[in-house]
């Protein structure tokens, strides 16, 4: 049996993922032809992502090496943004187990009235897979990986409850909630935001975010941002004009293609998440619940994009000056996970969002640095992605960096890492304050909505 499994794993994710996918598809009663097509799409998605990552390393690898040599800054961890990290997470051999874990936890919590959120965002199951990958990489324990990922599922649902009314007040959409793990960062942002209350005058600053977004919007487009970062890296690498422009267009290409290829993952997995969603909805007809969705229903708020774009120079500067940072920001330069969370925490106050952004940027960079070896290891293990020997990969701006860092250290108690317990105690204390604080804010939002 073990030999069979090893043989299958040795085939590489582009082959074994479709095999697993066909089996899962048949379990959820898909037609064989649909299951086959979806499964093959998953293989294509994975190889497609490998092709783009290889292209990117061919182009940016030498430039970032020259960057390191010329500046003496040890920024040898390339930030790939989320799409390649999603690909790596899905390529983890145990990835599909996360579906039933999330669904069962959600249904149990609904059944026992521990949450009001039915999370139909099954795309972001990969966030929890990513957590499990990192934690089991750090602790060498598969069980610990799944335990921490399960805690993440619980906290996400709790957090959906703690933000639902505030989000409804902001977007005007009833009946939905945000169980995305990005919003867990509110646990550290909310206390900071509370401290900002003591700065006089901050409450009255009014900025027209919509018109700012009109002016800055072009910088948010993937290819434009890739072009700019390409030029930034080329400048430090001391490239000549021709090489600089070439690199800039190559970087624009990589950042444009990453999400395009990631769409294939979505297409492949959609039938499964649809089936799972239907399964879940049938279990709770008529009950008063909120449907948990992915974050884009917040994407119409201009503050999100203005914050992302204005933080780009901050992130680049901090990457250069922060001692101990190893991340060269690239694919994750638009920090959506921060901006969407800050939008809720600061209730659309742009100035507060930017101040918190400056404070939080080191958190994202340092956790990106700390996790790089484990993400790189997994990417190397799954085989098809060639990462140059002296390079590592990571994701600046990942969702819930504080949660992942604290809980991976805490889980590492099994290897005698006692400092993790100190961190965990701090987190729990912060969470208790956060829970009460958000309950009060929810009550206020409910009042504004005329619900109480």
């Amino acid at each position: 049996m073990k030999e069979v499994i090893n043989y299958i794993l040795d085939l590489g994710p582009a082959v074994f993922l479709p095999l697993i996918m066909i089996i899962v598809g048949l379990i959820v009663r898909m037609k064989f032809s649909t299951a086959f097509s979806s499964a093959l799409t998953l293989g294509v998605a994975f190889l497609g992502m490998s092709v783009v990552i290889d292209f990117m390393f061919d182009a940016i690898g030498p430039a970032s090496e020259a960057f390191v040599n010329n500046t003496g800054l040890q920024l040898n961890i390339l930030d790939l943004g989320w799409p390649p990290n999603a690909a790596i997470a899905w390529a983890w051999p145990y990835a599909f187990f996360m579906f039933p874990i999330q669904i069962v936890i959600n249904l149990l919590m609904l059944g026992f009235n521990k949450t009001n959120c039915l999370n139909l965002d099954l795309w972001n199951v990969w966030n929890k897979i990513f957590t499990a990958v990192i934690v089991s990489g750090i602790t060498n324990s598969l069980a610990m990986g799944f335990i921490v990922a399960s805690i993440e599922v619980v906290l996400e649902l709790k957090n959906a409850d703690l933000t639902q009314k505030q989000i409804q007040r902001m977007t005007g959409i009833p009946g939905i909630a945000l169980p995305h793990s990005m919003a867990l960062t509110a646990v550290v942002l909310a206390p900071l935001n509370r401290l900002l209350d003591f700065i006089p005058g901050l409450k009255n600053v009014e900025i027209d975010a919509e018109s700012l977004k009109e002016k800055l919007g072009i910088f948010g487009e993937n290819h434009v941002m890739g072009f700019i970062i390409g030029i930034f890296i080329a400048l430090f690498a001391k490239y000549d004009l021709k090489s600089t422009l070439t690199l800039a267009v190559q970087a624009a290409t990589a950042l444009t293609l990453f999400p395009m290829v990631a769409t294939l993952f979505m297409k492949a997995l959609a039938p499964i998440s649809d089936a799972a969603g239907e399964f879940m909805k049938k279990r709770f007809p008529g009950k008063e619940i909120y449907i948990g969705l992915d974050w884009p229903f917040l994407a119409g708020q201009p503050e999100v994009w203005v914050t992302c774009i204005l933080l780009v120079p901050v992130i680049l500067l901090m990457a250069v000056i922060l001692p101990g940072n190893g991340v060269l920001p690239f694919g994750g330069i638009l920090n959506i996970c921060f901006a969407a969370t800050a939008l809720i925490v600061c209730n659309k106050n742009l100035v507060r969002m930017l101040i918190l952004g400056v404070i939080a940027t080191p958190l994202y960079l340092y956790v990106g640095t700390a996790f790089a070896p484990h993400i790189t290891n997994l990417a190397r293990q799954v085989g098809t992605i060639d990462i140059p020997v002296n390079q590592m990969i990571t994701w600046n701006g990942m969702e819930a960096p504080e949660f992942r860092y604290v809980f991976s250290r805490a889980a590492n108690i099994i290897n005698g890492d006692y400092f993790g317990l100190v961190l965990l105690a701090g987190y729990v204390a912060l969470y208790i304050w956060y829970f009460k604080h958000m309950k009060a804010r929810e009550a206020e939002a409910a009042k504004d909505l005329g619900l109480s």
């Binding site: 959409i173 999400p259 959609a270 884009p296 229903f297 994407a299 119409g300 959506i336």
Partner: protein
């Protein structure tokens, strides 16, 4: 044939989900339409070729074409009504 455009934060997950659902429903109702999922950051470029915009992200901006909410396609609540609304617009 009319073009329907759906946008989300990256043009990957949510918009794709809504687009494939709308596409399926259009086929069931025999409405000829092309459904496209795009990145909201590049919406301005893409909206020029669209006849209807399905918005997942409510905003105050007016794009000059009929806009309907995409949320019902995600939650399933009020989906048929929204689809009727879409059919009405596409028939014009």
């Amino acid at each position: 044939m009319k073009t329907i455009i759906v946008a989300c934060g990256s043009g990957v997950a949510t918009s794709q989900t809504v687009a494939s659902k709308v596409d399926k429903l259009c086929k069931e109702r025999k409405i000829p339409a092309k459904v496209m999922a795009v990145d909201i950051k590049s919406l301005e470029q893409n909206i020029r070729i669209a006849d209807v915009y399905i918005s997942i992200a409510p905003s105050n901006k007016d794009y000059g074409i009929p806009t309907i909410s995409g949320i019902p396609f995600l939650t399933g609540v009020g989906m048929e009504e929204t689809m009727d609304q879409l059919e009405e617009i596409l028939k014009k």
